[in-house]
Symmetry: C2
Subunit: 85 residues, 2 copies
C-alpha cells in the first residue's frame, strides 16, 4: 500500500479569488509578510501494491481526465509515505 | 521569496464524502486499484525574505487559527521551491 498525492492548482494566469480573500485577511489577523496566496486541491490516493512508473502514468491519466480541469488547472503527482495521519 | 505550502486534510476519523465520491467514480472511468481517496486543500503562500523557524512558526499559527478547522482537520506545513508553475 502506498500513497500517491495529486496536487491541483489553478494555472498562474488564472485569477484566484479564494487565494486573494485569504491573502487580504491575513494582515487583519496580524500576519504580515505573505505576498501571495494560492488555494488548490490535494488528493491522497491509497494505491494497492507497489507504485511503479505504470501506476504513476495511470494516476496522471486520472488527474488529466477527472481530478483536474486542465483548461484552468495544473496538476502535480508524487508518491508520499504516510504523511499527515 | 520562498513558497511555504500548507496542506489541510480531514482527520482520518472524519467521513470524507468528496473523497468517497471520487473513489466510487474511478472504476467507472476504468481506473482500478485505488483503495481510498481523501480530498483536502492546498495553500501556497509566497513569503517575502528567507524562511527561518520563526516564519514557519507564524505560518503554523496562520494554519491553526485560519486556514484549517483543527476540530476536524489536520494540517502540514513545509517549504517548497518553485513546484507546479
Amino acid at each position: 500500500m502506498a500513497r500517491v498525492v495529486v496536487d491541483v492548482m489553478l494555472k498562474p494566469e488564472i485569477l484566484d479569488p479564494q487565494g486573494q480573500a485569504v491573502q487580504r485577511a491575513l494582515p487583519r489577523l496580524g500576519f504580515e509578510g505573505v505576498t501571495d496566496v494560492r488555494q488548490g486541491k490535494r488528493f491522497e490516493l491509497e494505491v494497492a501494491g507497489p507504485v511503479d512508473e505504470s501506476v504513476l502514468a495511470r494516476v496522471r491519466e486520472m488527474a488529466e481526465t477527472f481530478l483536474a480541469n486542465t483548461v484552468i488547472e495544473d496538476f502535480h503527482v508524487h508518491v508520499e509515505e504516510e504523511a499527515i495521519r
